[in-house]
Structure formats: C-alpha cells, structure tokens
Symmetry: C2
C-alpha cells in the first residue's frame, strides 16, 4: 500500500522536498516506497499497512546537512522524525508516530569526536553505536568502561535521550550526559552548557554552564535534534566481581525488594541492578518449546523444571562489586548478610555457575559494559519475535513490587502471555519493565497486545504508576496519564513546542507533544 | 532617593498593583520605601542609590497567593523578582537586576511538606532554610544528613536552583533535586516529573517522568517560580571521618590537583571536596589586622606566621570518609598514599588539630551537613564586610589550577586585594571561586571591584573559562561570554522566555535573559 501523505502536505511539496533532500544528502540517501521498508516499525502493534508508516527516509552525513534538511522541511511543511540509529525495536524502531512523516536517520553522523581517558568521557555523534564506541576504546587500549543497555547496536546518544538504563554504577544514562549540540526546528544550532562559550575547555566536564540548564528539554522530546553529545565513562575499577542471588518463591519478591532498598539508597549496591523473573531470564538461555508445547502461560511444573535445569530462581538478582578489593569485599559481606534472611536464597559467583552459556556469565559482561546482542534471544521464546515493554516507575518497596507484579501477571495470563518482568533498581525508584513477546505478523495477536497494553496503562495510572518510556503507539495515551492540573505540563510543552517549532515540522506526536497545526 | 519605576510602568499601574498585592498577601507583607531596605543589595558594587533597587517587596504565604500576584503583575505589567530567601549575599541578596522591580519574597512559603527517611528525601517550599530542615530532622531523630553550603540561613530550594554546591557526597545540589512545582509567568501551575501524574507515588523518587525533562529550565532562569521542590538526602553513613591535608608551597597546587583528579573521577574521594588558599582559610579563624596593618595584599612573612600559628598550609584540602569502616579505611590508605608524594605534605585528623576554634573542627561539621554561619567570619578579614565571588569553571588539571591562580592573583594584588580562593572539585570539573572582600560603603572601593571583576570575566573568557553563577551586576556580561554561534543559546532562551512570559513580568535580566519588551 502507498503510504499516505501527512494531513496538510501536498504531493508537490513532498516531491519538491525529497528532491532537495537528495541534493543535500546524496541520491542514495533518500529512500522511498519499498526501499524505506527498514524504517517501518519492526514489531507493529496496530495495522502495519496504515499506522506509523514513514513516507520516506533521508540520511544526512553532517550537522550542516541536518540544518539544510530542517530548513527545507520548514519551507515545505514536511514533518521529520529524527532517529539516532532507530534500533529501539521494542518501542517502534525508526518508525514515526504520524504516518507520512519523513524519517531523518542520523546513522551517518557516526563520528567519535573525542574519548578522554584522563577525565572519563566521550563526545559522540548520534550515529555512534555502543559497539562502535566499545571497539574504539579497545583499539586505543583506554582504561574506560561503557555502560550498555542490553542490545549493543543502539545509539549511545539515542539511548541517553530516551532515558535508557544500563548495569554499571553509570547506569542512569541521562545522568551521565554532559553537553549537547542541538539543531533547533528552525535550523539554528545551539551548544549547551560550557559549549556555549567559544574556545571553552570544559564542555564535557560541567553540565550546567551559566543560566538555565536546558539539556533535559531535548530528551524524550521533539524540541530539537541532538547532533553531538558528551557522555561520562567509568574509569576501569581496580577490581570487578559480578554475582547472582536467586530466590525460590514467587512471594519472595516482597522481602527481596525491602532488602534491596536500603542497600541501594545507602550506596552499598553500587550498580544499576536488576531483579528478573524466571521466564525473562530463561528466555535468554532457552525457548518455551523446550519446556512446554501447550497454549497460554507456562505451567508451574515447567517453571520448576527450568529452575532445576538452569540453576535459576523464581527471581534472580544480578549485581556486581567495583573498586579496590577491600571495598568490594566489605560491600559483599553486607549484601550477602542482608539477603541471607530470605529462605532458600542461593548466592553465586561466576565459578559457581554451570559451564557454557549461562545467565551470570552473560551478565558478567553486561555489568562491565561489554555490548552484546544476546538479549535478543528473548524474541525466540515463543517465536514471531515481536516484543514491547510496559515500563511503569514505582517506589522501591516490597508492597509496590508485589502489587505491580500481581496486576501485570494477572492481565498477562488473562491474555495468554507469560509474565516476563524485571525490576531495575535506580537511585530511588524502581522501573518495572514487563515484556510482551508476541507474533507481530498475526493480526489477532496484535489486537490482543494493543488491548492488553491499554488496560495495563490505565490500571497502573489508577494506582499512581506512570510509564517512563513507551512504544510510539502509546505515547498519547501515556502522556494523557500525566494530566495534573488540566494537563498543565503538556500544555507547557505545547507552548515551548510552538515557540521553537512554529511550523510544527519536528516529530509530531513524539511523547504525546503535537505542534499547533496538528493538535486536536 | 526614591526608587524610579521600571521603564514602561506607570505610577498608576504600580500603585494599583501594590494595592492588589496588599489584598492578596496582607497589608503588612507589602513593603515600600525605606521599609523595603532589606531587599537592597547588601554588598552593592555599583551605585547603591540607583542600581538594582527594588521598588517594593511582597511576601505571599501560599502558592495560590503567588499565582494571584503573578496574574496581577501581568495585568499591570509589573516586573517581579522572585527570591526563595534572598540570602545569597555575595551575589546580590534579594535585589533585582532591574531597578524598580518588585521583589517576590517567598520566605513565608516555608513548609517542610515531607521528610522521608526510608527513601532519603525531603519535599520543601522555597522559604525553608537549611537550619529549618536540619532542626526538623534532628527533632524527629531521622537518620538523614543534609548537604549544606557555607551559610545555613539560605534556602534549600534557592541554593539548588542556583547550582550551589556543598561538601558531602551529595554536594551537587541540583543533581540531588527531584520533582518541582512551578508557577509559570502566566500564573498557570505545573508539576514536573512524576508529579504530573495525579495520585502518583514517586514524585520525589524519579526525576524524569515521561517526555521532556524540564526541571533544569527552571534553574538560574526566569521561566517560572519554583514553589515546591524535592531534594534527596543522604542516609547517615555507618562511619564518618573528616581529614585535612595541608601543602606548604604556593606551587604545590599543580601537583595537588593532578593527584586529586583521578581520585575524584575514580570515586576514591567520595565528597565534594575543596582545596582552599591560606588566606581564605585564615579569614574564617582570624582577621587581617592580627597579622598585618599595612595597605595592599598580605606580605609573605605574615602569611608564614599565619601558617605557623594556625597549623595551616599555603593550600589546605579538607575531605571526609563515609561508609562502613573498612571501606573508609581502604579509601584513606589510597588517598594518603597518593598525596604523600607532595614534599612537605601534612595529614590531619580532627584529634591532630589545635584545640578550640579550628578550621578542620569547623569543616568537620560542614562535611556532615550541619548548617552554620561561621563562614561569614570572612567578612571581617578587612572590615566593611562586602564580598563577592568570581567563579569560573575549569577542567581538573594542575595546569589549569596554576594558570587561573596566577591570572586571578595578579589582578587581585594589582587592585590591592588578597587572593582568597578555593578550588571545589566536582564530578569532572573544578569551580575556582575567588572572593573579593571589600568595603561596600566606600564608592572608590566599589568602583575598583567593578573594574576588577569585569577584567577577570574577560580575561577568563579569553582562556575559555566561564562563570557558573554571579552577582546580579555581572549577569549580562557573563551571559555575553556564552556567545557561541552568534549567541544562539541566549537567543533560544529568549524564544522560550517570550513564549512562557509574553508580558515579560518575571525577573527581567536574570542570567542575562531579557523579555521582548526590555531587550536591546
């Protein structure tokens, strides 16, 4: 099916704009029709023929080309959907909210501009992947570690901008961001923080500069296109030791989270640690068919067998120790003693785990910032490969963990899915990410996922739980749950949007923010 | 002298607005004429009769009153200068940039809305001082520590919004901020982060919420009035030990900073630590007249005598160890071994220091978050009491430390002032704060300070050093040094300013941001 033009855009304007894009970026970097297929949502939830479909894609190579493209888009009223690398497949990949939008693919802006070992930072363009940056650091032999999300093919910039999280002490990626260059929707270009001072020497060292600290405005937003970003990197610690602690019973999650909170708030647990449910962990190391060939959720007997086969608990907590060995030792003593209170708890270091492909052996790499693609194994749990994440934020309490677990599990089972959840423990909050793994080629399955997801959003919001990011399909609905004082925050976002993007060309609908010409 | 009205404001409008402010806040909470004297700059740099003078002040008691006042200000075009408590005396106190502005004093919004021991946070209004919050925590016996700047009478909210720093591991105050309520210049009111979700349970736990992360926009800005703010507090550590390391020679600063960088970047030094110059430290514990009664900077012989008398070095580094004792012990070993390389270095714990009033005994309180007013002793160094800080940011390198020290010291001496500087070592950057202590009642001295300060700004900018905050008198000039791409960042600030504050009523000139009706 031909992708329809966005409302208000004529074929003449689109054709003229694409022609100009070709002159700017080069013929081969403007893709339309079937050639633009890779920019479709890899795991659609609604109708893949009509919804969230890009009209075309353009991939410039430089910031100057980005500026020129933005100017042309203003001239012709063409909506642009910038993606750093577009690899966040669970949340829509490179696909736009609004069908007919032109994807602005920044993958060719892939320069690693600086990696500074002395201060521990990198300055990169949005096309740089975790693999790229990791390889660069290894080649130069620098004593710096990355903090990586699960799949390493994503953009360092894009992940931080989307408030992504990882597994080392630098796990809050946006907190580690320092200094940006941003092309504004009008084509003007700003540098934030110390970067606004010509000849400055601390753009990647000090975030705030002078005056308003605006970097956060460009995260999860459609207020500008980030073309350079600084990210702090962790100096290689003198010692590193990963560990895994497993818990036998479903109901242990309450006690586990109560033990975790003070350890995390008190900085005894140093890294961005996660507690994962059995099936989520098992989906990395095995497939459902190995244990169960029926319909609906995995029965308890099969779960038991997985636990025995793979030395996994009903919940598994992976963490790591970093620092001078006596520090690591001391922290481990406190951590071990704290969790010893849970009946049936099991403690593992890497040598205690089964040989071969094993969960802790895999996470031992992740928790030291080695990018991998292993996590994608979960796509094979039931076949099909489609997956999306439901990701509400909550306080770190046992009560909240149990409540959320029960709410989500009940609905997942009702719709025939396994509960595959993780609790990522941050500075003060817990991200509860539940994966729905489904067959995106089956229209009935898609309909089910859509229905289920909307129920989950509403039920969570009714209890005060809000999502921290989401698939392009649910942005409006989730924005709608952040509605305090008659949607005051989104009304403010709209005011800023209209001021910075008067023609409404940048990413209409991103995070539920629509420009004036497309509202209502 | 009568304070002139701001350009474009008629006496009728001002009178009508003040009358309405009285009805809103109560007669006794609107001050004019000599009664508004406490809102003048306590340490003026230019003419105190004409510059930076408030026309009046209004002190509402509630957020609803703030909203009403803002609406009246819009109606009558009255510029408002919000201050939390207005106690940052070195940078202008409560005084506005623009003469004739009405100060909006938030001191009566002084409720401590919540202190949560389990999660380590407080939710406070802007009128809450460090003393207030400290006393509250002590009364309730909560095991939480504050992070305080030097004088404890200031606002917890105001300090964080101005990117203030303290002395514990929570020393970057804005980094510890979580969730805001903001009255916008139009009178609308937003809650940021999770606060935008009705019935949410993690407003003070998770910063980002969903969509753009906008809190930073309201720091050092005139985009809104923060009426509630969350701040993370440190759980009382199991062990705490302060220390002081002193260095004998001026030139040691280069080696000291080179040693500090990897310790700080590698998280061996846990707190926001400072290296201070001899005279700055001595100004807390003594007066200049005790050692020297001539004109101009203190001679080396007198400096030597201070060092001997007070067991101080030419540079003194105060830090502290926090955590389980074996962790503290290990970190201390690494720190001590690292600094042992500096010839003549001396290490002190509290018991090694002179009895009575002593620098480390004083800092031992500060580094565990006990608010005090001791630092104001420095006002007495030369009498008069006026002081302001020149505060450029730089990389943490010995070369930058020496270069800045020499640049500033040369100019200070040239103008007859002592060099009184500190190097505050943050995550990746160094704040070099040099105090100019002068007699604010002497017109010639004020003229000298103004001249000197402008030279310092320009010379620093020429070397790529930019200030992180400043006295109201220098905001335009410093904003002007952040001029990359034809002042693109400030042009963007203006675009946002005009959208959020179409009548230009909020804090004209704050951080060099002027509304449309007062630009050019």
């Amino acid at each position: 099916m031909t992708v329809p033009l966005p409302a208000g855009v004529s074929l003449e304007d689109m054709t003229a704009a694409l022609e100009k894009f070709r002159r700017i970026a080069g013929d081969e970097w403007v893709l339309t029709g079937p050639d633009a297929g890779p920019y479709d949502d890899p795991y659609p939830i609604t109708d893949p023929e009509t919804d969230h479909r890009p009209y075309a894609a353009v991939a410039p190579a430089t910031t100057a080309q980005v500026q020129e493209i933005v100017k042309v888009a203003n001239e012709h009223g063409i909506p642009l959907w910038p993606v750093s690398r577009g690899k966040n497949f669970a949340y829509g990949g490179a696909a736009p909210v609004l069908t007919g939008t032109v994807v602005l693919d920044l993958k060719r802006l892939n320069r690693i501009l600086e990696v500074n070992e002395e201060f521990g930072y990198a300055l990169v363009e949005p096309g740089v992947s975790y693999f790229d940056l990791y390889d660069y650091i290894q080649e130069k032999g620098l004593k710096l570690w990355l903090d990586v999300p699960d799949p390493g093919w994503g953009s360092v910039v894009g992940n931080a901008l989307d408030h992504g999280i990882g597994y080392t002490p630098y796990g809050d990626h946006f907190a580690m961001q320092c200094g940006m260059e941003v092309v504004l929707p009008t084509g003007d270009i700003v540098r934030t923080g110390m970067g606004a001072m010509p000849g400055n020497n601390s753009w990647q060292l000090f975030k705030y500069g002078f005056g308003p600290y605006v970097d956060g405005m460009f995260s999860q937003s459609n207020f500008g296109i980030v073309t350079k970003m600084g990210i702090w990197l962790m100096p290689e610690p003198p010692y590193y030791e990963p560990y895994m602690i497993s818990f036998e019973r479903e109901e242990d999650i309450e006690q586990v989270i109560e033990i975790l909170r003070p350890l995390k708030v008190g900085s005894i647990i140093q890294n961005a640690a996660t507690v994962r449910s059995l099936i989520l962990d098992a989906s990395i190391t095995s497939t459902k068919a190995q244990y169960y060939d029926g319909a609906g959720p995995l029965p308890p007997s099969a779960a038991r067998k997985i636990m025995d086969d793979q030395k996994l608990g009903m919940w598994n907590f992976c963490g790591a120790l970093y620092g001078p060995p006596p520090v690591a030792e001391t922290l481990w003593t406190v951590i071990r003693d704290s969790f010893a209170a849970v009946p049936g708890v099991k403690f593992y270091k890497v040598d205690d785990r089964p040989q071969g492909f094993d969960l802790l052996r895999h996470r031992a790499d992740t928790m030291r910032g080695i990018p991998k693609m292993t996590e994608f194994n979960l796509c094979n749990w039931t076949g099909g490969g489609g997956h999306t994440g439901f990701s509400p934020v909550s306080p770190i309490t046992g009560r909240d963990a149990v409540k959320q677990y029960e709410m989500v599990k009940k609905r997942m089972h009702e719709y025939g899915y396994d509960y595959m959840g993780l609790l990522a423990i941050g500075w003060r909050e817990m991200h509860h990410v539940s994966l729905i793994v489904y067959d995106q080629n089956d229209a009935d399955e898609r309909k089910k996922v859509d229905e289920l997801f909307n129920i989950l959003i509403d039920e969570a919001a009714a209890e005060g739980y809000g999502e921290y990011r989401t698939h392009i399909n649910f942005m409006d609905r989730i924005a709608g749950t952040y509605s305090w004082n008659n949607n005051a925050l989104w009304r403010m976002h709209e005011t800023i949007k209209d001021a910075l993007d008067p023609n409404g060309i940048l990413a209409p609908g991103k995070s539920g923010i629509w420009p004036q010409n497309r509202r209502g």
